[in-house]
């Protein structure tokens, strides 16, 4: 409520009151909310015919599924009626999923956040953080009051405790132009980052030895090129469930062209069902398998020797005594930057060579140079791989020897190959070693820089980035200290090195989704005096907030968006104004900026900002965006890794002489150095200390019914996927006297949850699974994050969601009757109860 509105409503109420008291002055005298059309000037949202013409609004979906799907929204009489996939300018990227076409139920969810609110027990002078939680009560406040409070709290917090006590948190829940990044640079403070903390294992392992990519999935050939693959290994990803709207179809194209599809997964998934060869691996044994495949490749000499000589440091000479690379200056007075010493087989002399240089270099062998014993890096790798005979690994990993060999053989000998991991293997504590292992495996088979090579389950496109000028880096902005998520917890708990006091959170339902060991976070957050949260829905995370800001649904905003995963720049036309008092995030940011003296950096009208983007980018015109919804960017299918690698040598370091030493649970105190891939395991290890007490490994896979925790509150989807369940093999269930459909207690020494058991013949005995993304209120008791440790390893620094062991037992009788089994589930469960 703005002040104006308050005045208006007060006047209206008095008018109505007067009517009730003194009699009806006229036909319309009882009206306050309604008014005669002739007084309203231009009729707004006038209902004409219900069968009126559809207006097709071009817009776009924008969660973190990487689909970047352009959508058509059909609006009739001012209301959104349905959503369809839009045919974009680059039409082969027409896409959209069950979730995208369910948006009408997100926009019109009766439990959307409607008005700004503050926790009733919170006040600037007496924040009472202990009163947060399930029982917290809220009261509606006006936008001006809410923004005043946020701005004042930022000011006071900075004044009292210094700028680093202002903590900015953003998840990945929404794409769009909000000005969030701009504002935080103008205001200062600290920020958190996925780097490190969440899903940063596989990518960093790959990056360490290739110098390519970051901590998430590495670059890969664009999807149009996937059809050229001869072998595809989907490793720990259910792409046909989690990315079926976009990347899965290209896999089928490859298959139709004759590619062999291998799926490595402990669960018989939608994706495993499509495989020519399914490797039902035991949880945590992925690096073992990669090494066994390398073993096969060495033994059968089916490695790509040309590639190894030219583009990797396989021929680099390594000192036998300390494992370091032989010093180039001992061979050449003027060695090239990053040059490696190799043994020239023709001259039997050591040479120093730079990047991208092949030649008759020995791949194996031992020599003594200047009295120093050396061997090749590849020899060290081969020695490591020799420890992982397929027969042994088959036993450890629960696989057949023949299948291991077939997978390796297909990858090495059938032509262009690809390995498509996702983030799952990185959800083990030491999952980065798998990143190193598969990057190394693909180096052996020469699968970089060729048509048909695939290195990740989703491709990235650089072209459709928006050219936003200085929008992301405003003049006068400061850079903020960044802490990985795994560090934030200790900041909150220990105040070291800084103690956050004020938190602005957006695009995120971390307490409902990606913060392991939930109780620890809830306690740690009591050190915050003020928590401000912007969202479309009331999530388990906004329940912890002191000030709640209702954000607009995507269809209620106007925006211009790049696309990371297909060559279309997308336009969002506004389907209608935000409902109730929800607001575009931009207006929230601009409102705070104005109050903090940065109003000049945020034009009143967001359109002005978008206009700058469009004017700034030769490829774009408003006309084209509005007409088509998308603008195709000029990109031809690209092959990744055609140039020198980003490592110091420009080569893939199949032998990493500069390897870090990993330390953490299950490892010797001195740690393990990772020159070559070494399978490291924590809780999945066969000899893990608590494995008898907690024998089952607990995984939380992505499902096709949610993107992270979004869409959990959509009735159409809840009709099919009603409640959190535990996939459990009937064998494991029967051992525990658990019948199909009974409620079970899943627990370990950290926490527990109660969910319904779902017999699944396709899940490996010894493994259980609850799909991720359920909200706290969806559980009969507890939450799937409760049993998961928030501990991270020295090198990995990544939350290990799947590195979790639990025991499962039939839940107590009182839980067998609950919100899902009672006749009237309204309010706690069922389709409309919310929860994301």
């Amino acid at each position: 409520m703005t002040d104006d509105e308050l005045t208006a409503s007060r006047r209206d109420i008095l008018k109505t009151g007067a009517v009730a008291g003194v009699g009806l002055g006229g036909g319309s005298g009882v009206l306050s909310t309604l008014q005669p059309a002739d007084e309203s000037g231009e009729a707004v949202d006038q209902v004409t015919s219900f069968l009126g013409e559809d207006q097709v609004v071009k817009t776009a979906c924008g969660p973190n599924c990487r689909g970047d799907c352009p959508l058509d929204v059909f609006v009739r009489d001012g209301q959104i009626k349905k959503t369809e996939q839009q045919v974009p300018a680059a039409s082969e990227f027409k896409r959209g999923c069950t979730l995208g076409i369910s948006h009408v139920q997100r926009a019109y969810n009766a439990k959307r956040l409607k008005y700004p609110m503050k926790r009733a027990s919170w006040s600037p002078d007496d924040p009472q953080p202990g009163a947060r939680g399930e029982d917290a009560q809220f009261e509606r406040i006006s936008w001006s009051e809410a923004l005043d409070l946020v701005a004042e709290q930022i000011q006071t917090t900075k004044g009292e405790y210094g700028p680093e006590s202002v903590y900015w948190h953003a998840g990945s829940g929404s794409q769009g132009t909000s000005g969030y990044g701009r504002l935080k640079q103008l205001v200062g403070g600290i920020q958190d980052s996925f780097v490190y903390g969440i899903d940063t294992n596989v990518g960093q392992g790959f990056n360490r030895i290739t110098g390519e990519g970051g901590v998430f999935m590495p670059p890969t050939n664009t999807v149009e090129d996937w059809a050229n693959a001869d072998t595809l290994i989907i490793w720990g990803s259910d792409i046909f469930a989690s990315q079926f709207q976009m990347d899965a179809e290209w896999i089928l194209d490859a298959k139709r062209n004759g590619a062999k599809l291998v799926v490595v997964d402990p669960m018989y998934t939608n994706t495993a069902e499509k495989a020519d060869l399914w490797l039902p691996i035991r949880p945590g044994k992925d690096t073992h398998l990669a090494l066994a495949m390398m073993n096969y490749i060495f033994e059968n000499e089916v490695y790509d020797d040309t590639f190894l000589r030219q583009r990797t440091n396989a021929p680099a000479l390594v000192r036998v005594d300390d494992g370091t690379l032989f010093d180039p200056t001992r061979v050449s007075d003027n060695p090239p930057d990053g040059g490696i010493v190799v043994m020239n087989e023709e001259t039997s002399e050591p040479n120093v060579v730079g990047a991208e240089t092949g030649g008759p270099f020995a791949l194996f062998g031992e020599w003594t140079i200047d009295g120093v014993a050396v061997r090749t890096g590849l020899a060290a790798l081969r020695e490591q791989a020799s420890e992982y005979q397929p027969a042994d690994v088959a036993e450890v990993a629960g696989l057949s020897v023949a299948d291991i060999k077939t997978a390796a053989d297909w990858l090495a000998t059938r032509g262009a190959g690809g390995i498509l991991p996702a983030y799952s293997v990185g959800r083990y504590l030491y999952g980065h070693v798998f990143g190193q292992a598969y990057a190394t495996l693909m180096a052996l088979t020469g699968d970089y820089g060729r048509h048909g090579n695939v290195h990740a389950q989703h491709p990235s496109y650089g072209g459709p980035s928006l050219q936003t000028g200085d929008w992301g880096n405003p003049e006068g902005g400061v850079s903020l200290d960044t802490y990985g998520y795994q560090e934030i917890l200790s900041l909150l708990e220990n105040g070291d090195p800084v103690q956050p006091r004020f938190l602005y959170g957006t695009n995120s339902n971390m307490l409902g989704n990606q913060f392991p060991n939930r109780e620890r976070w809830l306690n740690a957050m009591e050190s915050l005096d003020t928590i401000v949260w912007a969202d479309m829905y009331h999530t388990p995370t906004t329940q912890q907030a002191d000030i709640i800001l209702p954000a607009a649904h995507w269809f209620e905003t106007e925006d211009v968006l790049g696309s990371d995963h297909h060559p279309n720049i997308r336009y969002r036309e506004q389907a209608h104004e935000p409902l109730w008092e929800a607001r575009d995030d931009y207006y929230i940011m601009a409102g705070i900026a104005e109050r903090l003296g940065h109003g000049d950096k945020f034009p009143d009208d967001k359109r002005e900002v978008l206009d700058r983007f469009v004017q700034n980018d030769d490829r774009l015109s408003w006309e084209q965006l509005r007409e088509n919804g998308t603008v195709e960017t000029d990109e031809t299918p690209t092959v990744a890794y055609t140039d020198a690698f980003g490592t110091e040598s420009g080569r893939i370091t199949v032998y990493d002489d500069d390897a870090p030493t990993e330390k953490g649970p299950g490892l010797p105190d001195e740690g393990i150095s990772l020159e070559v891939p070494e399978p490291l395991e924590a809780r999945t290890a066969d000899d893990w200390e608590a494995q008898n007490e907690y024998p089952l490994v607990f995984m939380q896979k992505h499902s096709k019914w949610r993107i992270h925790s979004q869409w959990a509150n959509v009735p159409w989807l809840r009709e099919v996927n009603r409640e959190p369940q535990l996939d459990i093999h009937p064998k494991d269930a029967e051992q525990r006297d658990i019948s199909d459909g009974e409620y079970v207690l899943v627990h370990n020494d950290r926490g527990s949850m109660v969910v319904r058991a779902k017999y699944n013949e396709g899940i490996q005995p010894g493994l259980v699974n609850t799909d991720q993304g359920w909200w706290a209120e969806d559980f009969v008791e507890g939450h799937y994050q409760d049993p998961i440790s928030a501990e991270t390893a020295d090198v990995g620094r990544t939350f290990a969601f799947y590195d979790c062991r639990v025991e499962v037992e039939r839940a107590a009788e009182e839980y067998q009757s609950n919100q899902y089994t009672q006749d009237n589930p309204r309010g706690t469960a069922g389709s409309a109860s919310g929860g994301d």
Partner: protein, 187 residues
């Protein structure tokens, strides 16, 4: 105004029975969010006939209660919109806002050339807006029209709405309001 427009309550003569339009008009006010102006209206004594409405107590507390029951954000909320109780997949689930019944209500308003003062702030099938419209109909149209509107709308959902509300522990003011509202629309 038609011939048989009900007359207003005449407090000076002490007639305790308000007109139907007054009743619905007053109920509409009571279902709006409490504010200072709202308190003034309630305290003016004009609503005395509405037993229990003066039991609202402290305004701040009532606003917290109103937020909890009708705005959210938590699980206790009972969104006061018709479509939520009529357009869901089944009667046990909360349906959407802006459902087909919302359209149907909007058509009634349209038929009488009435518009929402602020069309975007809330869907038109808010209980207060429907009651206000019922007041308008009773002031301006034959009883049969009001009956038709009540039958097509308020009587179709208010029982479910208040049942849901009762499950979420309303205080004395809203308990009284529920009682008076269901009496009014069902009489």
């Amino acid at each position: 105004m038609t011939e048989n427009t009900p007359t207003a309550t005449d407090h000076s003569t002490g007639d305790p029975r308000p007109s139907i339009a007054d009743t619905f008009g007053t109920l509409a006010v009571c279902w709006r969010e409490p504010s200072e102006g709202w308190v003034d209206a309630i305290e003016s004594g004009r609503f005395e006939w509405l037993d229990g409405v003066e039991t609202f107590g402290d305004l701040d507390e009532l606003r917290v209660e109103y937020t909890r029951l009708f705005i959210g954000p938590g699980r206790d909320q009972c969104p006061p919109y018709e479509s939520v109780y009529r357009d869901g997949a089944d009667s046990d689930d909360l349906g959407p806002v802006y459902g087909p019944t919302t359209q149907a209500v909007a058509r009634w308003y349209d038929e009488y050339d009435l518009r929402l003062r602020d069309s975007r702030s809330a869907p038109p099938d808010h209980i207060a807006t429907e009651l206000e419209f019922a007041a308008y109909l009773s002031a301006n149209e034959d009883d049969s029209v009001l009956e038709q509107f009540l039958n097509e709308h308020l009587r179709e959902w208010v029982d479910q709405f208040v049942a849901h509300l009762r499950e979420n522990d309303p205080g004395p003011f809203y308990r009284a309001l529920i009682r008076r509202t269901t009496e009014a629309i069902n009489s």
